[in-house]
Amino acid sequence: MAQDTGTRTLISQAQLRRGRGRAVYWTLLAVVIIGFTLVFLGPLYWMVTGALKSGQEIAQTPPSLIPQDPQWQNYADAWHNLDLAKLLFNTFYYATGAVLFQLVFDTAAAYSLSKLRPVLGNVILGMMLATLMIPAMVLIVPQYVTVIDLPILHINLLDSPFAIWLPLVANAFNIFLLKRFFDSIPEDLMAAALMDGATPLRTLWSVVLPMSRPILGVVSIFAVTAVWKDFLWPKLVMPSPETRTVSVGIYAFAGGTPMNVVIAASVIAAIPTVVIFLVFQRNIMSGLTTGGLKG
């Protein structure tokens, strides 16, 4: 995302440089930086340090800013009692699979819809996009019923990772993003590849995909965070303790576990997405803004 510091916005550069405008600007900037740090980072600090306090310290008034006697044991307890290693591995496994399934099926479908002109392509695209208007909560019951008894095959997918992977392939937003990107690849390039005798598969692999790395990255990151953040669907389709995701696992233990240990587990569960965000923040932010809503 460009830092368009040069372009004119609501208030002109000149006004911000002059005496009074300048003073107001710097005061406001300082207030916002401090305020935002407190509002958005403060709770996270409270979470990480709160989990280090003892049960007594957490109940004391006024609360202490820095843990007096850090209880690292809380984090260790969270790790062992909730079997976080297992929960994190499950979530990671579902997230990786989701990325692979989405990349393979959604990319292929978007490529076909964009360049290969299948029969009824527009109708299929329209029906896919129509699903964007159906709220997830409305479909949760019939989807659950479908997953416990797949039509025709009569397979029960409960506790199988496919119950998470396959429904995620039906992601119209991905298809839309990818198709729009493929649409922007010039036809001449495709025609040239075709002329050289390349099959559509070969063209996809050697011409289209290498050009599409940024958008594939965005789709992958969104797939990982979607799996990591999702709660109700994995709670329903992964009911047994061995297959739970990390959020569902923490929720299941929350009732009978000391508060600080639950928070310690919540901190650990949040680390992967926060790290992904800090590493890929540029891709995430550009994907969020250019991908969806600029039209």
Binding site: T9, L29, I263, A269, V274
Partner: protein
């Protein structure tokens, strides 16, 4: 999502596809599939997933809402499920709560991100840092963030984070989730904190697309900051504002995880029960999947009503 979908759909429709003569449709369809085998093979995986996990459940949801399955036997029961759902004493409370949440979230979660975006767009320094801060909570698993609010922020004793702050400021402390009056505002606050980042970033992108000359011209005409916001910023971002309002209404009407974690479901005096939570209750605790499906259909109808109103409003403005 109507606005985002339009460009792709239009572009696809514009492309000339050779249409077969009307009589030979059947034979040529088979041939077309064979001629373009790769094209159709590429499509099949995604289409199957959509068919099984999206299109079929849509139909199935409506069908289920008119059936009842007991001990493996399914019978048609007409409107019985709907009547049973309407009879549930929580039904109207749940709608009331959900609308209350949606309304409060619109005030807080809709106006605030817009003004935050306007503010951030004016800064020439620390832009990256401020953006990261605002978006950071969006990346937390909601369950993690909500446990933080539940145990630390909304602790009703004076040891809780919010009460400690209120007390330090000399203000009266609150009972938060223990009090029916504070339950909804507390849930809206947590939900806004978790979700506002995406709205801020989308607004920021829209603000950067406003041509600077417009502000220039308005300023030459003597328009102050507020009038520039009213007559330049808001009209220029109108489409995005309308679209996000719609998306937010649809999202907040599905309020679920906040009541589940913060209020253990129903909350003090049923003050947290939402429609989505009621669907979950009926479907997965009261062994009433058919009733839950009926409630889902009701929810869909209500949201479709909102969408229709939205489309009419935006169509009129154009």
């Amino acid at each position: 999502m109507t606005i985002t979908t339009a460009p792709g759909a239009v572009r696809a429709a514009d492309r000339p596809t050779p249409s077969p003569p009307a009589g030979a449709r059947r034979t040529s369809l088979g041939r077309k599939v064979r001629d373009n085998l790769t094209g159709h093979t590429f499509l099949i995986g995604a289409v199957l997933c959509f068919a099984v996990f999206s299109w079929y459940p849509m139909v199935r949801g409506v069908v289920m809402s008119f059936q009842r399955t007991r001990r493996g036997e399914t019978t048609w029961v007409g409107w019985d499920n709907y009547l049973r759902i309407l009879d549930d004493p929580s039904f109207w409370t749940a709608w009331q709560n959900t609308f209350y949440f949606t309304g409060l979230a619109l005030v807080l979660g809709y106006a605030v991100p817009f003004f935050v975006a306007i503010l951030l767009n004016e800064f020439r320094h620390a832009r990256g840092y401020l953006r990261i801060l605002v978006y950071l909570p969006v990346m937390l698993p909601p369950a993690s963030a909500l446990f933080l609010f539940k145990f630390y922020a909304y602790d009703p004793s004076d040891a809780g984070l919010f009460n400690a702050i209120l007390k330090a400021l000399g203000l009266p402390t609150a009972q938060w989730m223990q009090s029916p009056e504070m339950t909804m505002p507390a849930m809206v606050l947590a939900s806004t904190w978790m979700n506002m980042g995406s709205a801020v970033l989308i607004y920021l992108a829209a603000l950067q697309n406003i041509p600077g000359e417009l502000y220039e011209a308005a300023e030459l005409d003597g328009a102050g900051i507020w009038r520039r916001i009213r007559h330049v910023t808001i009209p220029q971002t109108r489409l995005i504002l309308a679209l996000l309002a719609m998306l937010q209404i649809v999202a907040t009407m599905q309020l679920f995880i906040e009541p589940l974690i913060l209020a253990n479901g129903a909350g003090a005096e049923d003050s947290a029960t939402s429609v989505a939570y009621l669907i979950y209750q009926h479907g997965f605790f009261q062994n009433d999947l058919n009733g839950a499906a009926a409630l889902g259909v009701i929810m869909l109808v209500v949201l479709a009503g909102f969408s229709a109103a939205y489309l009419r409003l935006t169509a009129k403005q154009d």
